[in-house]
């Protein structure tokens, strides 16, 4: 019997996971990875001849391997056990913080991106501002594991300052408030609603608007963000999302996305999906138009943005007649025609530091 143990274990291991992978129901998309999973390749002579059948089959099996996410978790914790300080480019920080490791800083890329923004700012005919949201790891350096790569936010800010763009510097106000308020989610790369309020106040101050008063009205539990999904550290605790509302009477707002209009900037059906952060402005879209009928100041703002703007915009919508947001990852029609079309009076470039430094989509702005 003893000599049969190893052969049986080995064959059973292979057989069990093979069968489970075949039998278990397949999902079309992965919530954690935010992508569509591979479909079973077509069994045609052409595909077999070109070799794509087997390579697609490989991808298919990898995407639908039984208990895929559990395996990822196992490996992430195994990595922690052998002294790595996180997994999949997410640091496992103190107090349950999962913090994205900095990507490589490419000076040429940064200069190019800033130049493209500057070109648009110079030619759009209205005043423009640039706001960069610092990375979690830069502001909350005390929460990082003792060994980590250097964050390059200071370098990026310096480059932005010398680019000639009108820069709103969030670094000091974030650093001053970091100990008293939770500015960043623990499981997500975004700023919390409190962090977004700081951004809102800083922006209002820099353009001479009077910030409105908001009050905490609701707490949403059980938010697992993208850092959590990437890390595979499935035992970390979820975040809470704070919802703030205007202290005064609710205003009369219409938001239009893909031709559909609704009258709340909060999309509660998103709370049932894997990414609860999408409650703000319904997540990423190419073009989002917000009209506030209770404001009559003639101000129309264009925000060229990534998702760091979403929570922030729910506040700022109270100060503008109209806000148009474009996301260059999806919006490929150039920015200048929007200036006339929506009677834009102000422009804001709003990006998280890493996206600003590494995005390759800025060319679409001057298209």
């Amino acid at each position: 019997m003893k000599k049969k143990i190893l052969p049986i274990i080995f064959c059973a291991f292979i057989l069990i996971f093979c069968l489970l992978t075949i039998i278990l129901p397949k999902s079309a998309r992965s919530a954690n990875e935010k992508r569509v999973l591979a479909t079973f390749p077509e069994f045609t002579w052409e595909n077999i001849k070109s070799g794509s059948f087997m390579s697609d089959f490989d991808t298919y099996v990898a995407d639908h391997f039984a208990f895929r996410d559990k395996w990822v978790g196992l490996y992430s914790y195994a990595s922690l056990a052998v002294g790595r300080n996180g997994a999949n480019d997410i640091y496992s920080g103190k107090d349950g913080y999962l913090i994205a490791a900095p990507k490589d800083y490419n000076t040429e890329q940064v200069t190019g991106n800033l130049t493209k923004l500057k070109t648009f700012a110079d030619n759009c005919g209205v005043t423009s501002k640039l706001m960069i949201v610092p990375e979690t790891g830069y502001i909350l350096s005390g929460k990082l594991p003792s060994q980590h790569k250097d964050y390059y936010d200071d370098k990026l800010y310096k480059a932005a300052q010398s680019s000639g763009l009108d820069l709103i510097d969030l670094r000091n106000t974030f650093k001053e408030n970091a100990n008293s308020v939770q500015l960043y989610y623990k499981t997500d790369h975004h700023v919390t609603s409190e962090g977004a309020l700081l951004m809102y106040n800083a922006y209002c101050k820099s353009v001479g608007l009077t910030p409105k008063k908001f009050a905490l009205s609701e707490t949403i539990y059980g938010f697992y963000g993208t850092s959590y999904s990437k890390s595979g550290l499935w035992l970390k605790k979820p975040d809470t999302i704070h919802i703030y509302s205007l202290a005064a009477d609710p205003s009369d707002i219409n938001i239009t996305i893909d031709g559909e209009t609704s009258n709340s900037l909060l999309f509660r059906d998103k709370l049932l999906t894997s990414d609860k952060y999408e409650i703000f402005l319904n997540g990423n879209h190419d073009l989002t138009v917000i009209e506030n009928n209770s404001v009559n100041n003639g101000k129309h703002l264009l925000i060229v943005k990534d998702s760091f703007s979403h929570c922030f915009t729910t506040f700022l919508a109270e100060n503008y007649e109209e806000i148009v947001l474009i996301d260059l990852r999806y919006y490929k029609f150039g920015g200048s025609k929007l200036i006339d079309e929506y009677g834009i009076t102000d422009v804001l470039f709003l990006y998280g530091a890493e996206n600003l430094a590494t995005s390759t989509d800025f060319g679409w702005l001057n298209f």
């Binding site: 052969p7 274990i9 080995f10 195994a78 490589d104 060994q147 980590h148 790569k149 790369h189 993208t226």
Partner: protein
């Protein structure tokens, strides 16, 4: 064979030429045209898709032909059996180079057994761990440290060399172990291919422990036919030079591999001439250090196909400093480096041999095998885990 006896040399030569032409065309045409257009005149550089494992099975077929000619094995007239030898999948991709005469009997008659299968599971699992858990991890570390560049400083570069030395050993010997393990499962016994090369005290010893099947092949089918060491010191040195240039070139179609081969040729000649005796006399610590440092330097010659990158790497040693990024890499990989160094020593095998008859051993090794398979699977699945920050359609 009787009636062809007089023509057997002709058949041998034809067979070898066909094999070398195939290997030469698929593996070296790109290299050749590139070198010609670099040195003389612009010819179109031709790139040919490399058939998987061609370096290995060409050498296997040639070993059969030569051994047949020398009468060291019988002719295999069954195409299925011969096909099984040439295309045997466990060792097709990365060796070992199995000589026909070593498995001639097994090809025709072998016994599969639970013991052999269990042995195969053991070997295969060890090989899988070497490749997936160790080699891949050290590969990551090496790439990241090279990415840090000059900022890595002296310490960073030493660790990078260590990481690559561990990576290539676990990669190559891992594949060999898996091949031998699979062979065992099918009832074959392949000869050992790596025998703890990093415990060597000289370069000559290193090459008796590293990729043994390749070393044996070149010794038997190139070095000795050239006359080996029986024709005086000069011819011995020349023969060694030829063998090592070819050994280098076998590893890859690029000049840095030739250099790498010659590097070992020179070291081995020096050891043969006088250094070998010195190494035996000095304290073991120094001879170990000597062998390890030279092998690690050799790996850099092996790794950087671009001479420019190689120079950048070596000037980085003098870069001074030890940047935050490099320190972060070295410290967070430190436990794995220690595990890797320990895993490259024979202590585990010795412990296993000592305790393998104990009653608890079957259970202990079963648990280890399960754990190993779990973690390897987790690692392989994770490598395909690819999350995006926002939806991709």
């Amino acid at each position: 064979m009787g009636k062809y006896e007089g023509k057997k040399k002709l058949f041998l030569v034809i067979g070898i030429i066909i094999n070398l032409l195939l290997l030469g065309y698929f593996k070296y045409v790109g290299f050749l045209t590139e070198t010609i257009s670099l040195l003389f005149t612009n010819v179109a550089v031709k790139t040919v898709a490399l058939p998987i494992g061609i370096s290995f099975y060409t050498f296997q077929i040639m070993s059969y032909l030569i051994d047949l000619y020398r009468g060291k094995c019988g002719a295999q007239k069954n195409i299925i059996t011969f096909g099984a030898y040439v295309t045997m999948f466990p060792q097709l991709i990365a060796g070992p180079i199995v000589r026909y005469r070593d498995i001639e009997l097994q090809l025709m008659e072998r016994t599969e057994s639970w013991e052999k299968f269990g042995n195969g599971v053991r070997l295969f699992t060890v090989g899988l761990c070497k490749k997936v858990l160790l080699a891949n991890t050290f590969g990551e570390l090496f790439d990241e440290l090279v990415g840090v560049g000059a900022g890595a400083g002296f310490v960073g570069h030493i660790v990078a060399m260590l990481a690559f030395s561990l990576q290539i050993y676990f990669d190559f010997s891992g594949y060999s172990d898996m091949a031998r393990g699979l062979g065992n499962m099918f009832g074959f016994d392949f000869l050992i291919n790596f025998n703890y090369p990093y415990i060597s005290k000289s370069i000559s010893e290193f090459w008796r422990r590293w990729h043994i099947s390749l070393g044996t092949w070149f010794k038997e089918y190139v070095y000795i036919p050239l006359g080996g060491n029986r024709k005086g010191t000069f011819r011995t040195c020349l023969n060694l030079f030829i063998v090592w240039a070819l050994t280098g070139l076998w590893h890859g179609a690029s000049w840095n591999f030739v250099l790498w081969g010659l590097y070992y040729g020179i070291l081995i000649i020096i050891e043969k001439l006088f250094l070998g005796k010195v190494l035996e006399k000095i304290p073991a610590f120094f001879s170990h250090l000597y062998a390890l440092v030279l092998v690690a330097l050799g790996w850099m010659l092996f790794q950087f196909t671009d001479m420019h990158e190689l120079c950048t790497f070596f000037t980085g040693f003098a870069g001074g400093g030890f940047s935050t990024d490099a320190r972060y890499l070295v410290l967070t990989y430190l436990p794995m480096l220690i595990i890797g160094i320990l895993a490259s020593l024979p202590i585990w095998k010795n412990a296993y041999d000592k305790w393998k008859e104990k009653r608890w051993m079957p259970w202990a090794e079963s648990i280890l095998v399960i754990l190993a398979l779990l973690v390897c699977t987790a690692s392989l699945v994770t490598s395909t885990y690819n999350p995006f920050l926002y939806f991709r359609f």
